[in-house]
Assembly symmetry: C2
Homo-oligomer: 317 residues x 2
């Protein structure tokens, strides 16, 4: 069993490669829910849905999130009622949120609904929200505001300067059923090339998660989301400094610290391999820009091989 | 102030004529909510929405309900999750239900949301749900089933034989704010050519309504929904017999009984005028098929003139 800690697009692109290397049924993905929000009364789970739509082959190829062949009729009509529509909800996507919201109101857990949604899209990877409890990534800006992550990133286009990031509700959140076991009992635990602050960081902020990642017998192999000091997508470059971390492949590895057993950086960051070796971190360089699914598959294969090698050498246990 | 008791399409077509005769701000419409239902977690109010869309000039001209230029993307996607989609929800229409559901969850009353929706569509007629409480028209079939009205009418296409009709929740329902005043203080109280059983009948089943209609100082003028023994739309012909009423222009007048001060029948039913006169009911014949809005306006004008005439003669007071 392979377990992956995952955010949205970067993780989804990586998972698309991973399921070419191992049967999807043998993959468990623990997914960030700190970006989740309620819009127009609907529960929206951007990272869970992005992964689901990618694995179903139904993601919009241009935006790399949301549904392909999407329309926005409902959102246009909602403006009539004075709803702000800065958070794009497509018509096809909306059906997912409607189903999820209805089931949550009926008393289903987010884990249960996530499994239903995955099944409805023919996705056989096991998707687990990191928690069924309500948590929210909150962003403190240098003008003293406390914003929901999506307000900061989508509504304000990531423009404010960030001074702090926290996971509201984390103190009361419990790992969803199966999450700790998936981390502790995995053959390999992979950190997808996701935002180390608001995706992987949120997952690790749920009580019990960081400890489980530290204690797991599985080798922990991560992929850098930073290439040549830049993000492939998203705003990790704006958030890492708020945590005192350097925006570089090495900087993210050092941010994860002792959680990592191995770290994959892009070929463009090959010099980081030696730098990290000097600090006792096993690092490898490989192509990590996954526009081509074959590159994603090779990257996933390298992660698995690295984990197997570490395992043979008794690392992680 | 003119007050109209109303169901869906027939009432909407009539109201479209009425607002050509009097300023819309002077019209209050008390609307049936017994057909309302929850679909996919959304609160749907077919009669309120049909009237709103007609008065906004946005109704689908072919179906005569729902939005023009409608799509069904969300409904198609909902099938993926195993939702039955026998009740058609268009994408544009869905935005109305989303807004209403969100506001109800926030604690707004149906009256408040109805006013918001009307304003959002530029409708200045005052629309009042007959009650803010939950009621549901239930249909008993001759095979012993107890169906929601929409299950009977839409899902089963009105095919089962009906033995009884009741308004579940009526005993605990209170008239919505302003409803009793609108009936008691009107200059004229009009019964739209709506289903006498499940539209007007539901309104009258809310405690206090029948009494208010009986006591109002306003002349009560109704329009027959039956022409030549047939319904123009809907299934009143299937339901009237369950109540022991005849499916005819006279039969409906006799069903309403002493509530009526005058009754407008179609020219095709001119013989009913004399028949009803013999039973003490003032009846008039006129064109009542309102495919042309000018016919609707003339019919509305006749109702208003009849009410004014009755008022002058002291009828109703």
């Amino acid at each position: 069993m392979i377990t992956v800690l995952a955010g949205g697009v970067g993780a989804a692109r990586f998972l698309r490669g991973l399921v070419r290397c191992v049967p999807p049924e043998e993959v468990t993905v623990v997914v960030n829910v700190g970006d989740d929000l309620e819009r127009h009364g609907l529960r929206v789970c951007p990272d869970l849905d992005t992964i689901t739509y990618w694995l179903a082959g139904l993601v919009d190829p241009d935006r790399q999130w949301g549904r392909a062949d999407e329309r926005h009729t409902v959102a246009e009509e909602l403006r009539r009622f004075g709803h702000d529509t800065w958070f794009t909800l497509g018509d096809r996507d909306l059906a997912t949120h409607l189903h999820r919201t209805m089931r949550l109101h009926q008393g289903a857990t987010l884990s249960e609904v996530t499994a239903e949604v995955a099944a409805a899209f023919g996705v056989t990877v096991r998707l687990l929200p990191v928690t069924d409890d309500e948590v929210a990534t909150r962003i403190t800006t240098d003008d003293g505001r406390d914003l929901h992550f999506q307000e900061y990133w989508v509504r304000e286009r990531g423009e404010p300067n960030v001074t702090a990031v926290r996971l509201a509700g984390a103190d009361r959140a419990r790992p969803a059923p199966g999450v700790l076991e998936a981390v502790l009992d995995a053959e390999a635990l992979l950190l997808a090339p996701s935002n180390p602050v608001v995706s992987i960081g949120t997952i690790l902020a749920v009580p019990g998660l960081r400890d489980a990642v530290a204690r797991t017998a599985a080798p922990v192999v991560g992929v850098s989301p930073i290439i040549s000091g830049s993000v492939v997508r998203g705003m990790a470059d704006r958030l890492l400094p708020a945590l005192g971390a350097e925006v570089s492949a090495s900087g993210v590895a050092e941010h994860y610290g002792e959680l990592l057993d191995a770290w994959i950086v892009d070929d463009a960051d090959a010099e980081a391999v030696e730098h990290l070796a000097g600090r006792g971190v096993t690092a490898l360089a490989a192509p990590t820009l996954m526009d081509d699914p074959l590159v994603a598959a090779e990257l996933a294969r390298l992660c698995l091989d690295t984990a197997a090698d570490l395992r043979r050498r008794g690392v992680g246990a």
